[in-house]
């Protein structure tokens, strides 16, 4: 039966196909589901394979020592973080003192160390790059944006080993030197995405905000930043992955991380250690990338 007045009004009103869940819930596409489920499954599978190999293969003394297990099963978190002493430049965590590592190069310790290097650097990167990026989109500072992005670009273009070694020569080795190097290295994606994200906010929305009486700060916090969160978070994810990969070089300046296994493998020409180091770093990077994606999805404001 046709309607007596079939004239179509507006575009189709989205009412027939109301989403089954809560109104305005984030849209989850098939692609996103794939992106979110495949990496952890892959990581779990490969890690499972590694565990199987580690348990069944016949290891010589060096390998067995280097890939000591006990910690993975019997968590030594309290030993890893016995007392926080940030004033100790070389080893804020005493039990992580590189001097002690050779007695027990602890797999879990190295993983934790790698994660800590990555996360601390990423937090510092966000704390610096987001406010800096915001500043570079405001009024008179806008002209400085290309210069600062240029510097950050150069920071990233410089070989990471070079950056780390330069800082080592200047500041000596240790955890915080590595953090500075990694932060410098990871700042560009967040900085650039913050600037691009804020510049990409529809100017009519900003003007609408001003036009209905928002102050400059309110426009920033209620309109510009929320709308650029997806872009900024994409930068954070890129940065996390960059840092996680580069953190493998931290072992050269006595800052630990999974690079340790790789380095030992190379210097002793132990193929098994090299592969283990490479695989574990890759798995960690994959996992961190995945976490970045989850974070991206969770922080994305509803409605966009």
């Amino acid at each position: 039966m046709t309607e007596p007045t079939p004239a179509v009004l507006d575009e189709p009103i989205p009412e027939g196909h109301e989403p089954s869940g809560k109104r305005g819930a984030r849209v989850i596409t098939r692609e996103m589901v794939t992106m979110l489920t495949v990496p952890p499954i892959l990581v779990a599978a490969v890690f499972g394979g590694f565990v199987w190999w580690r348990q069944t293969a016949e290891l010589d003394v060096v390998e067995a020592n280097q890939l000591r297990w006990s910690l993975l099963i019997n968590s030594r978190f309290h030993e890893v973080f016995p007392s926080w002493n940030p004033m100790d430049w070389h080893a804020p965590f005493p039990s992580w003192n590189p001097a002690t590592w050779y007695d027990g190069p602890l797999l879990q310790g190295l993983i934790w160390e790698h994660v800590l290097l990555t996360v601390v650097s990423a937090v510092i990167v966000v704390a610096i790059a987001v406010p800096l990026g915001v500043m570079l989109t405001r009024g008179g500072l806008k002209v400085l944006a290309p210069i600062v992005v240029g510097i950050a670009n150069a920071g990233q273009a410089a070989p990471s080993v070079g950056l780390i070694v330069l800082l080592f020569l200047w500041l000596d080795g240790g955890f915080w030197t590595a953090i500075i190097a990694l932060s410098l290295y990871g700042i560009l994606p967040v900085l650039r995405n913050t600037i691009v994200g804020i510049q990409g906010v529809d100017p009519t929305l900003v003007e609408a905000g001003r036009g209905i009486g928002m102050t400059g700060w309110m426009t920033l916090f209620k309109v510009e930043l929320p709308l650029s969160v997806p872009v900024i978070m994409a930068g954070v994810r890129t940065s996390l992955v960059l840092i996680a990969g580069t953190a493998s070089l931290a072992c050269f300046i006595d800052a630990g991380g999974l690079g340790e296994i790789l380095q030992t493998g190379i210097s002793l020409f132990k193929f098994s250690l090299m592969v283990t180091g490479a695989v574990l770093i890759a798995l960690l990077a994959l996992l961190i990338e995945w976490l970045g994606r989850v974070l991206e999805l969770l922080t994305r404001p509803k409605g966009i």
């Binding site: 007045t5 009004l9 575009e11 929305l205 003007e207 001003r210 036009g211």
Partner: protein
């Protein structure tokens, strides 16, 4: 039968008088001023439309009123108070601002969007949510259904409605509209225009509306300000007077040919007699309704909801199948407001299968049905009258064309 409710003379006016006095805007590095000495008074409670070719300074003039653009010199007064006597942000919170496409914040729900200004003004949340519901209802959106939606879940027309609701949220005396209906399709635009007129009839705000569409200007404006390059006033008058006696060639050109036909845009549907065919309520028994309709010789029945709003318009043969009268979602039925012009009415009839159109009043209340014959009769009558009017105006003003400025070929019609 044509008019229900109050007339224009006794309606409430909540708007404020707006006065521009020798306002100039000169951008650095440009020889010609964007706005050169604009003086203008907008009476309280009227809609004034700013219309003119692109780059004539109409939007600049509008934005100077809420200080998005600061004038180089001159003063702007709202209710005899200089707009610079307060900070720009607190001024803007007292002026409604409606922008093309609604410009809703996509990460906020409809309710949050509408409640932004009241929240900044420090209203408590209960008052804000009551106000939001009231406004959504006013602009024709069911609050229960739309309150918690995000802008991307709305159609263009619905977004624009929310935009209007946001502009009205803090009950500002003055509302500025910048090409408010530029981004929606013609039928929706016409409907939104009708609703704006209806809302304005109810609220009596002072509205300044920028548009490049002369038809929209004629339809919406109590007065029209036609601007030339540099925001020079070409004419500032009522639509009737501008159509009957354009001040110069520029205006005549801008208003365009067929101004006799355009007179149709001036005639509101409320000036015509409406038919009152059989009506029924949602849920009534079909049999007595059909009997009544057949006796009255009607082929269709207008179905109203509990708030007297038309919701369906079935033919008798379509009703036969159901024991009770059924409604449809109101959005699916094409109706026009009593303030719609005859042009709109004809447009709507042509898209309808009835060759008639349902006319509504305040808040979509049903008034009657307008048919094609009534309109054509009126057209013939109006044409005759308009011809006489123009003749008379020419006799009074002497030879037409006297004192007209040189026309340049670039003058755009927009």
């Amino acid at each position: 039968m044509t008019e229900t409710g109050g007339t224009n003379s006794d309606r409430a006016i909540s708007g404020a008088e707006l006065r521009l006095d020798n306002v100039v805007k000169r951008y650095p590095g440009q020889k010609v001023a964007a706005v050169d000495s604009l003086s203008l008074t907008v009476p309280a409670g009227e809609i004034v439309t700013f219309v003119g070719p692109s780059g004539c300074g109409k939007t600049t003039s509008l934005k100077m009123i809420n200080r998005l653009i600061e004038p180089t010199s001159g003063t702007i007064l709202i209710d005899d108070q200089d707009i610079r006597s307060d900070s720009a942000t607190s001024l803007r919170r007292k002026i409604g601002y409606v922008i093309q496409g609604g410009s809703l914040f996509p990460h906020m729900t409809v309710a949050t969007n509408v409640g932004v200004v009241p929240k900044m003004l420090g209203w408590d949340s209960a008052k804000i949510s009551a106000r939001v519901d009231e406004l959504l209802d006013l602009v024709g959106l069911d609050p229960d259904r739309y309150r918690d939606r995000y802008p991307r879940e709305l159609s263009g027309g619905q977004q624009q409605r929310v935009g209007v609701a946001r502009g009205l949220a803090a009950d500002p005396p003055v509302i500025l509209m910048d090409e408010p209906f530029g981004a929606v399709d013609p039928i929706t635009r016409q409907r939104l225009q009708d609703e704006l007129i209806s809302i304005q009839r109810e609220l009596g705000k002072t509205i300044v509306c920028v548009t490049h569409d002369i038809d929209e200007a004629i339809k919406l404006g109590d007065r029209i300000l036609i601007l030339q390059e540099g925001a020079q006033i070409a004419q500032y008058d009522t639509p009737e007077n501008i159509l009957a006696a354009p001040a110069n060639d520029f205006v005549a050109d801008f208003v365009g040919a067929g101004s006799t036909l355009k007179q149709l845009s001036l005639t509101r549907v409320r000036a015509l007699d409406l038919n009152r065919p059989t009506t029924a309520r949602v849920g009534d028994d079909t049999a007595p309704v059909m009997q009544h309709a057949e006796q009255a010789g009607d082929e269709t029945v207008v179905v109203l909801d509990d708030r007297d709003r038309p919701v369906a318009w079935p033919w008798l043969r379509q009703m036969r199948n159901n024991p009770t009268v059924r409604g449809e979602p109101r959005e699916n039925l094409l109706t026009i407001d009593q303030a719609a012009t005859l042009n709109d009415a004809l447009d709507t009839m042509l898209t309808s299968t009835h060759s008639k159109v349902i006319v509504t009043g305040d808040r979509d209340r049903y008034l009657g049905v307008l048919d094609f014959e009534t309109v054509t009769d009126h057209m013939r009558h109006a044409e005759r009258e308009a011809a006489e009017h123009v003749e008379q105006a020419q006799r009074e003003n002497g030879v037409p064309g006297q004192g007209r400025h040189e026309r340049t070929p670039e003058d755009s019609h927009d």
